[in-house]
């Protein structure tokens, strides 16, 4: 506070006091008393409060930074063989695709994803989605793609037609190493071995979400020298990082086209049901199962539980897309 005898400039609060006050930090009693009775300083404090609020508002609007964390080993579910691979793929994909949909995140370092419907073969074609009135969900295997529509066969064996428009959010994930091509922008999440990263997850193209599944620090860059065994990741700073991929590497394409969805993929579609039973989709994601016989060295250990139903946080296009890809 500028109240000392040698200070002839001002009897008002020093900027440091005003900044501290705007930051909610303690100021000394003398400064506090001055603030109570000085209209000029109260106005200044109010202006700095507003500026600080603006800065924090922008910070709060910043995308969520990737949150790496390791799963709790005590809760690992270790499986073996093809079932292990299938479950791992499904669970990892589901973790990425549906965490928001079921209101669960990765902040607890362990993801229990609940998805699917009609496991007993008698489930409905469409199921309600909470959080957005009129929104329904179709889940099943992709039978065929006809132009802008999909035919999905549900677990009960019933076909459902899913129509899309140019604004439908389409994404896909699974054993899709062929999507990793030279020049592609990718985000790699994996484990280090010396200078090499063994990729557990590779996100191709512009990421929709900044959320990580537990355990990995993401590295972003451009693909170079892509092969079936891996590629070289060139970071924005020019660093070249060798990346290995395997049959267990999960590839995610957050912004895909219908033509990229593979026959047999598990399809999750959110949209509105028409009178003829078709689903006019606002968001579609396809999860491609890993092929049997791949190496058993899966990197992620995330358990999965099945449950009917899903949830979205609103009806905006982004909210619905976010329900299929969390953390936007």
């Amino acid at each position: 506070m500028n109240t000392g005898p040698a200070d002839t400039r001002s009897s008002h609060l020093d900027l440091a006091d005003l900044i501290a006050e705007a930051n909610g930090q303690a100021i000394d009693d003398r400064a506090r008393e001055h603030l109570v009775r000085c209209e000029h300083c109260r106005a200044e404090a109010s202006r700095w409060h507003l500026v600080a609020g603006g800065v924090r508002g922008l910070a709060a609007a910043a995308p969520e930074v990737a949150q790496p964390a390791r799963p709790r080993h005590g809760r690992l579910r270790v499986l073996t063989g093809p079932r292990r691979r299938t479950l791992l793929v499904a669970s990892v994909a589901a973790a990425l695709v549906l965490a928001t949909a079921v209101g669960l995140g990765v902040s607890n370092n362990f993801v229990h994803i609940k998805f699917g419907t009609g496991g007993n073969g008698a489930g409905p074609v469409l199921t309600a989605v909470t959080g957005c009135t009129g929104l329904e969900q179709a889940v099943g295997r992709l039978e065929q793609v006809n132009g802008n529509s999909l035919v999905v066969k549900t677990a009960s064996g019933q076909p459902v037609t899913v129509t899309t428009t140019a604004s439908t959010f389409v994404s896909m994930s699974g054993a899709l190493r062929s999507e990793i091509t030279d020049g592609a922008s990718v985000m790699v999440r994996g484990t280090r071995s010396g200078a090499t990263i063994a990729a557990a997850i590779v996100t191709v193209g512009q990421p929709f979400s900044a959320v990580n599944p537990p355990g990995y620090v993401p590295v972003q860059g451009t693909v170079s020298e892509a092969s079936s065994a891996g590629f070289t990741l060139v970071t924005s700073g020019g660093t070249r990082i060798p990346v290995t991929t395997s049959a267990d590497t999960l590839v995610i394409v957050p912004h895909a086209s219908l033509g990229q969805l593979q026959h047999g993929a598990t399809i999750f579609a959110f949209g509105h049901a028409g009178p003829d039973g078709t689903l006019s989709a606002r968001a579609v994601t396809g999860i491609t199962q890993f092929p049997p016989g791949g190496p058993a060295g899966a990197h992620l250990h995330i358990s999965v539980h099945l449950k009917v139903g899903a949830h979205v946080n609103g009806c905006s296009p982004r909210a619905i897309a976010a329900a299929l890809l969390p953390g936007s």
Binding site: I19, G24, S46, L50, V51, R56, V65
Partner: protein
């Protein structure tokens, strides 16, 4: 309508924080190649660094790349951390250098000397009046239009949890210059708001 006491933001952006000892221990472990420690450090500081870099660059993808490069630099350089500053100000200083390098390559300048001259406000002029009349959304929009150097100092002072001496350390300028720059930033903010008000 001015709402000076409205709280915006998350606990990530509180002005003060504990855990300096934990940070030092984390950095020691990172220096020894402990990936868990790196992940913990990332969780502790990544969001604040991203918010600060995004405030300066205004580009999400670029900001995320800079944060990534910053964390790679932390991974490689944690052993050189001597504890002379807080880990938060250390990592933000690294991010600032990364940002400056990246923007320099794009022929932009983070710190433009033209914006660094002391421009202390002189009482409730039109800029202060404009600020008094502005609401939070308008202020947020106006901050986006500030020069990078002004966004930077505001972000460090209000968004990163650093003290003014720590801000001075990050910017490598005296505390008095930090104050001058903050005052100039607010004056510029007021001018933007004033111009918007006149155009309405």
């Amino acid at each position: 309508m001015n709402e000076p006491h409205r709280e915006v933001g998350s606990p990530t952006f509180t002005a003060s924080r504990d855990g300096a000892c934990d940070d030092a221990a984390l950095l020691r472990r990172i220096g020894q190649g402990d990936e868990d420690a790196m992940a913990a450090f990332y969780r502790e500081h990544g969001q604040v660094v991203l918010a600060q870099v995004l405030l300066v660059t205004g580009e999400r993808v670029l900001a995320e790349e800079i944060v990534q490069d910053t964390m790679l630099a932390v991974w490689r350089g944690a052993g050189s951390f001597r504890g002379e500053s807080s880990a938060r100000s250390w990592v933000i200083a690294i991010a600032r250098r990364q940002t400056r390098d990246r923007l320099r390559r794009r022929r932009l300048r983070v710190v433009d000397d033209a914006f660094l001259a002391d421009q202390p406000s002189s009482g409730p002029g039109p800029e202060a009046t404009a600020l008094d009349r502005a609401d939070l959304a308008e202020v947020m929009g106006a901050i986006r239009q500030l020069a990078a150097s002004h966004r930077e100092v505001l972000g460090l002072a209000f968004g990163s949890g650093l003290s003014l001496p720590e801000v001075a350390g990050v910017l490598e300028i005296p505390v008095g210059t930090v104050k001058s720059r903050l005052t100039a930033a607010r004056a510029a903010l007021g001018r933007i708001l004033n111009e918007k008000g006149q155009n309405r």
